[in-house]
Symmetry: C2
Subunit: 272 residues, 2 copies
């Protein structure tokens, strides 16, 4: 689902703008995260988001918030009625929140973001309120103080729609059920570091992987653009143009430090 090979073909665009070189040797598509897993990973690793609420004059209002998440990925925010978004939420509970990849490499439009839309509500009971307060304090320690202010309200989003965009040609919707069921990615917090490390110190390994495992036998260079529990995305230079592909791990990572062993295995397989 998240195999990144081309722009969506439904753009009203000249065909040559959307053409990328195919692998010279056919390969099995590598497993990627589902849209629900991609969305969950973005919500998992970030703490800052933008809220869209409806202002009194009917204008959709974009504003920055810090957020946490309940165990099922439902976003939690703590906002003041002194702020426009806080007053808006009191009046109109429908809204959405956009979470974007914090560390952007290259074109921002080729980076990950997700919109979660639905209905904001207050906590159902003391247990949920405590879980929500703990979630927001993980993201924003100062929330421990705001949480005591009388003008602040803890809101939880009942997610109804999930729209993920992972970059060029990578986008999909997820059902609220699949989003709630999606497990966080254990390697998501370390992925940005791993990508920098692979590109800085292991360009030769990435090139071998692109040639041997992704079928780009004419590759002249390869960089890692994304990494997750299932594999790595590669940007591959070839004499035929730039290609976008993916190499899958033999086994999905299950621990936070799993990317190291998984990429070592991938390199060994490429060189076998």
């Amino acid at each position: 689902m998240t195999q990144a090979t081309a722009f969506p073909t439904d753009h009203v665009a000249p065909a040559e703008a959307l053409r990328f070189p195919d692998p010279l040797r056919p390969v099995e598509p590598a497993r990627g995260r589902t849209a629900a897993e991609e969305a969950r990973a973005l919500v998992q690793v970030n703490t800052v988001a933008t809220l869209a609420t409806l202002s009194e004059d009917g204008t959709p209002w974009a504003s920055l918030v810090t957020y946490g998440a309940l165990a099922d990925g439902s976003p939690v925010i703590l906002v003041s009625t002194l702020a426009e978004h806080g007053r808006n939420l009191t009046r109109e509970h429908r809204g959405s929140i956009s979470v974007a990849q914090a560390e952007i490499i290259g074109d921002p439009l080729d980076s990950g973001r997700v919109t979660l839309a639905g209905v904001w509500r207050e906590a159902r009971d003391d247990e949920e309120r405590a879980a929500g307060q703990a979630a927001i304090e993980t993201a924003s320690p100062a929330a421990a103080m705001y949480g005591r202010f009388g003008d602040f309200t803890l809101w939880i989003l009942d997610v109804e729609r999930v729209r993920w965009v992972g970059g060029f040609g990578r986008m999909d919707s997820a059902t609220p059920e699949s989003y709630a069921a999606a497990a966080p990615d254990p390697v998501a917090p370390s992925a940005a570091f791993a990508i920098r490390h692979l590109n800085a110190d292991h360009a030769d390994a990435l090139l071998d992987i692109a040639r041997a495992l992704a079928g780009y036998t004419d590759a002249t260079a390869a960089t890692c653009s994304r990494a997750d529990r299932y594999g790595i995305d590669l940007t591959v230079a070839t004499p035929r143009g730039t290609a976008y592909t993916r190499a899958g791990f033999a086994q999905a990572c299950t621990t936070p430090d799993g990317l190291r062993a998984a990429t070592v295995e991938l390199t060994k397989r490429a060189r076998a």
Copy 2:
């Protein structure tokens, strides 16, 4: 206006949560950027923002965009009707865009962001369309390609409301007229680097400035939290608690590299 000394006092909060130590020696408040100038500087240095549009079912929809700005600071975006925000804009032109400080140091809620709200419209003529297209390509080179796609529309925001939040206790609205008239800050693009440099290599100078120029004669340490054409904001450790203050330059910076000379002058004045 942007002198940062305390939380707004209208929070429904225990008074002790909002109390900060005063300077021991009275000082003149240092000039800061106006809310309009703060807003303009945020729009000037960033290229990624979040849009709020109205979805067909009445839900305010938050989504990531890249943007440019016309000479008067009006945001320009280029969006596809294949995307929900593009379809939303075609139907409902009222909306807003939130621009947040890219490099966040410390608590995200203590960082800068601005919401510009108003009515999106297409370019009035070829000249404005060319200016808009050039602005968006500065922010996002790939827009040169998207601009040719038939499903993309260039939208310009006629700004009606400007709400700036600069961090804790720093927030204000600006009129659309003052926003359009506000000049970009020549040192805004280099401020993040200057702040890192001052904190890494000139802690002694910052401490002298806090003691001699900001009136915190009992300061034990000081770090720079913000820098602009008019001065620097300082976070000051004292035996009486943490204080937030500002030191103003003798003359406003007028060139992109102006912060170096201005902070050297500030240090000399503190040590005179």
